[in-house]
């Protein structure tokens, strides 16, 4: 009971780094990454402790002798503490003072039971040993939590609350945003000064939604400084750091990408998702679009084709550059787009395929001289808005473009296609103008399983269209060799006899297929589940076939047949439209 293995500390440190990722993935929509959503827990702990400890002299945060009632034994050596100490003060400026004192007192380090709400009163009355027998499974507090607890005990019972709950208004000036941010910083400085508590409440939308809802559900996300545990301070720190960067971006009139922000302090944020969530929450709570915070997603999408993009700053981007694509600018930067001699747009999932077509100039020779758009996997907002913009734009001959989509034959590919076509479910659920990011007329060009069979089977080059009517039974008896005890793949010489017959099959096993992974299967099932409640049944059969046959394929499976494939497919579509 007295000594503690080292592992828990290591684990603790890891989990601090990882904590955002962990918590954001939980299903609880209301409190996702903050883990807890109200101040009650804080009150329980802090009030309870402050009452008994009377430890209000904050300038010299010595270890709490008054808490002796709950003292038990020491836990580990000085060295261990010293090793652990440096990385654990992530945010709070007050923490170092405590940690400096600590090595001196480690001979007498007290272990404080984790203060679950009803516990403190009871534990304080009883003595240490009986306390343990009454409540044996009390988890041991980590060093970090103990420090934090001392830190908490030194607060005064005063709370400043800031609530951000602004109606949506995209035309708020950046000075207004600055005011709101400064308000938080001012309050924070006051709180540090008089050692009270700061609560920030953000009104956000529920993040996790499988089913479409007409009305987004509002939830409150609450940040408290100091929080009930040290981790919460890290959350608060991440929040402040983002505000600071937003402030900096506005002051300097620069645009930061979410990626930039993440790399400003990787250790603090832990994961990109933390940044994304916080930025979305701040924007949502302030009722402004993300760009008002001077934050964008990193430009990701590429476009290549016979068109010019006029930007609001007066520059014109010619996308008909030999050899490479052009990064798709944010929709707010686009003044207008002039589409010249093309009547097709081809949305491509994979950057590699996009580059192959763009660099070779093959796109110019394809039917309809398609404009190539690539979102590099799941498309970002700018790419989808751009596709939507093109969808509403006529070319020079006064014709709207036909939209086709080329994605992998796997669950994610089909999901990406659905996203371009219908907008993302998430933005739809959050009421984020999804119709401005969708291309409802988008058609799934491929890669389809039938295409793979047609273009990738071993004998496909010979003749795919000769029908076999199975009338000839005896011919195959030759192949029914009586090879006993041999390996399964052995009858290659038998095959030679029959090659002329086999070439007629369209369904020879194709080359280059990949097996569905557990992840693919889970994704396919979740897509089936999601779509069976909506009207989007277009791919249900493909998904089931993926699951049943157990093979998927990437666009690259077409290999050097890619151009021939696109040529035939696009041509077929055009003929189909004309007739």
């Amino acid at each position: 009971m007295s000594s503690n293995p080292e592992d828990p500390y290591d684990l603790e440190l890891f989990s601090v780094i990882d904590l955002y990722q962990d918590q954001t993935s939980t299903e609880d929509g209301g409190s996702e990454y903050f883990g807890w959503s109200d101040e009650d827990a804080v009150e329980d702990i802090s009030i309870g402790v402050i009452d008994e400890s009377q430890f209000l002299d904050l300038t010299t945060p010595v270890f709490p002798t008054t808490a002796g009632g709950e003292v038990q034994s020491t836990m580990s050596t000085d060295i261990l503490n010293a090793e652990i100490l440096p990385p654990i003060q992530p945010v709070a400026e007050n923490l170092p003072a405590v940690s400096l004192v600590l090595p001196l007192t480690t001979q007498n380090v007290h272990k404080i039971p984790r203060s679950t709400a009803p516990a403190p009163a009871a534990t304080l009355i009883t003595d240490s040993i009986t306390d343990h027998t009454i409540n044996p499974p009390v988890p041991e507090l980590s060093l970090e939590d103990r420090l934090h607890k001392i830190f908490i005990e030194n607060r005064r019972d005063k709370t400043t609350t800031i609530t951000w709950e602004e109606p949506d208004n995209s035309s708020r000036p950046s000075t207004w945003v600055l005011e709101k941010i400064d308000q938080v910083f001012t309050a924070f400085l006051d709180v540090i000064d008089d050692k009270s508590k700061l609560v920030v409440k953000l009104r956000g939308t529920e993040r996790r939604m499988l089913h479409l809802k007409s009305q987004p559900k509002w939830v409150w996300r609450t940040l408290v400084y100091p929080g009930p545990s040290a981790r919460d301070n890290q959350k608060f720190g991440a929040f402040l750091r983002i505000l600071e960067l937003v402030r900096e971006a506005i002051k300097l009139d620069r645009i930061y990408t979410k990626r930039d922000i993440y790399y400003k302090d990787v250790a603090l944020f832990g994961s990109q998702r933390t940044v994304n969530n916080l930025v979305d929450d701040i924007a949502s709570a302030l009722g402004v679009p993300r760009r008002s915070l001077h934050i964008t997603a990193a430009a990701k999408g590429l476009v290549c084709g016979d068109l010019d993009i006029s930007k609001t700053d007066g520059s014109i981007i010619n996308c008909n550059i030999e050899g490479e694509g052009v990064l798709i600018p944010s929709s707010t930067d686009i003044e207008k787009v002039v589409i010249r001699d093309c009547d097709t747009a081809l949305i491509i999932e994979k950057e590699a395929i996009f580059r192959t077509l763009a660099e070779s100039g093959d796109w110019k020779r394809l039917p309809g001289r398609p404009i190539l758009i690539c979102g590099k996997g799941y498309p970002d907002i700018a790419t989808r808005e751009f596709a939507h913009y093109l969808y509403l734009t006529k070319n020079v001959t006064g014709r709207y473009l036909d939209f086709y989509c080329l994605v992998d034959y796997d669950p994610h590919g089909l999901d990406i296609y659905t996203m371009y076509k219908n907008g993302s479910l998430l933005s739809r659920a959050a009421g984020m103008f999804y119709e401005q990011m969708a291309v409802p007329a988008l058609q799934h060009l491929g890669v389809k399983f039938s295409d793979i069979l047609e273009y990738c089977s071993a004998g496909s080059g010979v003749s795919q269209n000769i029908e076999d009517h199975g009338q000839d039974h005896t011919g195959f008896n030759l192949a029914a060799a009586v090879g006993a005890g041999e390996d399964e793949e052995q009858p290659r010489n038998d095959d030679d006899n029959n090659n002329h017959k086999r070439a007629r099959y369209t369904h020879l096993p194709p080359q280059g297929l990949l097996q569905m992974t557990a992840h693919d299967r889970a994704k396919a099932v979740s897509m089936l589940q999601r779509d069976c409640s909506n009207a989007m049944v277009e791919h249900a059969d493909d998904l089931r076939k993926l699951l049943f046959v157990g093979y998927k394929a990437e666009i690259q499976v077409l290999g050097d047949q890619l151009v021939r494939y696109l040529d035939e497919k696009l041509d077929g579509q055009r003929i189909g439209l004309a007739s």
Partner: protein
Amino acid sequence: MSKQYLTAHTIDNAHESSIYALGVTADYTLTGSGASAIKLHSTKDATHPLVHTFTDAHKLGCHHIAVSRTGKRAVSAGFEGSLKIWDLENLEANGEIPDANKDGQIWAIALSADGSRCLAGSHNGRIKIWDLDKEPFLLLRDYETKNIFTMCVDLSADGKLAASGHENGGVYIFNNETGRMLHSLTGLMKPVRGVSFSPSGKLLAVCGDFQVIAIYDVHSGEQVFNFTGHSSWVFSVGWSETGQFLVTSSFDGKTKIWSMDSRTCVTTLGESNQPVFCTSFLPKIGAGENLVTVGSGITYYREASGAGTN
């Protein structure tokens, strides 16, 4: 040598999507597809009319059906991971194996001849056997394999042996009495899509993407011989009631019948190149070995009388 077959009846629009699952009893031909319903067509009647529909059996579609040889019970597995039990005497749902999708979803299923034992293989390679005779269904066996997707399973007629085929080519035979693995059959390197015990339980037929039908001696674990001739992935394999013939179907739309006596292919069927996902001999009535295949539709074949006197 060869047998002559005629297309007896074709039901093109039995389901709205591809048919993946087939179970045949003396009375009913059960089929499961991407649609939520399981359909029961008459097996005996020459026009094979639809006699019953289990509506909303599996919300996301059904990929496997197994029936008991007695024809009293069927089980079906759905894409959502559930496993449902059907009473074919009263034509009603008869429960669901409740924790079927707890650890790794259920994929392949099989029933013992009397229908009392249900065998299920899951995504994570676990093979489980339940006693279906009384609720709550008792988990009798839980075999752990190498965490590879289970594509097919089968129980011997007496229920004493179980076999599983996996995505990496692994085939295992278990002794259900001792609860131990009897054989691990190696050498197949591609997905195994069908395993089937012969009626006597002495042989095991294995098919899959290696395009060969491998016959193993269950007792020794030795590969006895191969049937070669399919030129695409072989999706299903089944025995005739007497064990004299094997029927296999493949992705290129071909259905083949193999004679165990002469060890040759005696018939190749299939007019289209649409995949045939499952096939089965019908319970024997009269002299001929009739069969049914499913894929894009349901097709019944009748052995032409007078022919096939091998």
